[in-house]
Amino acid sequence: MSDQSQPSKPHGPDRRGFLQGAGLVGVGAALSESLLQAAEKPLAPELSNVGPDKIPRKPFGRTKEQVSCIGIGGFSLASAPSLKEAIAIAHEAIDAGVNFFDNAWEYHAGKSEDWMGQALKGKRVKVFLMTKVCTHGRDKKVAMQQLEESLKRLQTDHLDLWQIHEVVYENDPDLHFAKGGVVEALDEAKKAGKVRYVGFTGHKHPAIHLKMLAHDYPFDAVQMPLNAFDASYRSFAKDVLPEVNKRGMAGLGMKSLGGNGQPITKGVVTVEEALRYAMSLPVATTISGIDSLAVLRQNLAIARGFTPMTAKEMETLAKRCAAGAGDGHLELYKSTMKYDGDLGREQHGFQSHKELPL
């Protein structure tokens, strides 16, 4: 366990101030002199492990942990054609210097955790391992059972980060913070030494994330969709990320390519632009869905020797994306119900995807 008693300040107030001030919304606000200076600087926190062949690392919130600027998404890993390829992806990533590994209890009905557990055999100490708990409103007891299952599948005695998965419904914050709810399980798991850090994730609406944060619970991490389109549509970067950084929590980005790669296939942005933009935000890591060695190598090439974009470069890209972003069709996880998982839907009493009039 690392020492959390001496919080560092990964994101200085000047950068944060600029992020809020310029808004990254691409409305073309006039920049003041000092902002123009700030615009030449990157928004991303201080990098370590820098060098042309290295995957840079960033501070995990105000802790002393350093995590790789790109992380391996657990869902996509188990979408690889075989266990063998999944293991090859994980090993090649670790060898390249990636240490952040994402997962969730419910991904592929456990296969994602199973495969990652096998891939990490003998390499557990090299990674910062995260998985998510999927109570979707159910109580602490369910959460603790899921934790035991996750640990068993991942073949470890502790997680580095355990997050509440998919906070997407407006009553989720109430359910999670209810007496006997999942938040109590986070405390219990931490105390028992089964997890080092805790957090929550969600893809739906900044207002729901803010509702979670308003409870003032000491989350260590908060995960959210962050990309060049988010900058001008129901924006997590604008509304949530500054709040997360203010509290010294680690911001974790996901869906850097819009969730389904549509912005890439439609030619709105290149993979490199999209990934560099996401990694240049003031986040600890950007979790990337990688289901083949080809995609891994493509993304590693972008992350290796990564230097963050300047705020000005980011604004230019966000501006270019703003026109197509405004209706949410490039971020369907926000604008539709298509990304809301069936387990969560079932727990809330909603009809399954099959029945949805999508």
Binding site: V27, G326, D327, G328, H329, S335, M337, H348, G349, L356
Partner: protein
């Protein structure tokens, strides 16, 4: 202007003045007893000869309510323009309009872009000789474009509706995050609203939208003196991204007339699934502090069903409303019954096009958009 129209433009309609003693129902949410006395009965329009006797017709008049802070009164239920275009024959559409007027409905909704003008054309025909009996609204469909285009649309709407003025002209479908910015821009559609008012071509102005309370609030808080604002209001909205909770109080505070729509969630999916009764949905919407509830009615049967609820309407109590809201809060929570909020499929292609958003060529509305205008 005809004499009747001129009179109508300056004061409330004479035909309605007699009803002004009726207290506005709903503004307090409290139950208000509505008069249906004999003095009313003697002045009622002659019922149509072919009007069937309906034992469940509902007793009393359609309540009239204040249109915001003005002296104007409108019927508590309104006829939606879009559904008028669903009829295959103009005669059927005309019959519905006439029966609605005879029953005491005054509020008529329409929109420049509905069915490429067919619904305005048909309504114009149906209102011939009856213009002074109604409060006529249509909408302008610039979707971010400027005031000049808006004024052209206004002239077309007036011509199709066969009138020299509207009672209410609204900016249609404020849906996208940047719509408020575009409307308020120099040379934007709001300048057309001012101009149309000054020229006497519309008495009141407003805007409509179905997407997000935050966008409505943005429009309102930028400060333009709208007379009316239209939004989806129904039992499920009461507990999901709620216009009722977030927008409606703001309107009433400012004396802006609130206009409800989608009382049955647009698709009536909750009714078809047996979750909620149609009557409860309409009663709930009409019990909110709104000037009127605009209903899509594509058959005489639906009109009559709605009239049964609206005649002598007594608003639900706060407790009854809360009970309905709470009972269905769980089903409301993912927005699957309010697809206009939670899907892109309700985003009007006529609005997506000028915004540069892609169109789905398989969508019925997109096909409709490229059809020729119909009607007489």
């Amino acid at each position: 202007m005809t004499d009747a129209d001129r009179n109508h433009a300056k004061t409330t309609e004479p035909a309605l003045a007699r009803r002004q003693f009726l207290r506005t129902a709903g503004l307090t949410g409290a139950s208000v007893a509505l008069s249906s006395g004999s003095a009313e009965a003697t002045q009622k329009p002659e019922p149509a000869k072919d009007k069937p006797k309906d034992p469940d017709a509902g007793a009393g008049d359609i309540p009239m309510r204040s249109f915001g802070k003005t002296d104007v009164k409108v019927s508590a239920i309104g006829v939606g323009g879009h559904h008028i275009g669903e009829f295959t024959a103009v005669e059927d559409a005309t019959r519905l309009v006439h029966e609605a007027i005879d029953a005491g409905i005054t509020f008529f909704d329409n929109c420049w872009e509905y069915f490429n003008g067919r619904t305005e054309n048909w309504m114009g025909g149906a209102l011939k000789g009856k213009r002074n009996k109604v409060f006529l609204m249509t909408k302008v469909c610039t979707h971010g474009r400027g005031a000049d285009l808006a004024m052209n649309m206004l002239e077309e709407s007036l011509r199709r509706l066969q009138t020299d003025h509207l009672d209410l002209w609204q900016v249609h479908g404020v849906t996208f995050d940047n719509d408020p910015e575009l409307a308020y821009a120099k040379g934007g559609v709001l300048e057309a609203l001012d101009k149309a008012k000054k020229q006497g071509k519309t008495r009141f102005v407003g805007f409509t939208g179905h997407k997000d309370p935050a966008i409505h609030l943005d429009m309102i808080k930028r400060g333009y003196p709208f007379d009316a604002v239209q939004m989806p209001l129904n039992i499920l909205d009461g507990s999901f991204r709620s216009f009722e909770k977030l927008v409606l109080p703001e309107l009433n505070k400012r004396g802006i007339a609130a206009l409800g729509m989608k009382s049955m969630n647009g698709t009536a999916a909750a009714i078809k699934k047996g979750l909620i009764k149609a009557e409860d949905m309409l009663r709930y919407a009409m019990s909110l502090p709104v000037a009127t509830t605009i209903c899509g009615m594509d058959s005489l049967q639906i009109l009559r069903q709605n009239l049964r609820v609206a005649r002598g309407f007594k608003p639900l109590t706060d407790d009854q409303m809360k009970d309905l809201r709470d009972r269905h809060a769980k089903a409301a929570g993912d927005g699957s019954y309010e697809l206009y909020k939670m899907s892109l499929r309700y985003d009007n292609p006529e609005a997506r096009l000028p915004h540069g958003f892609p169109l789905d060529s398989t969508q019925r509305e997109v096909k409709e958009m490229f059809k020729e205008a119909g009607g007489p």
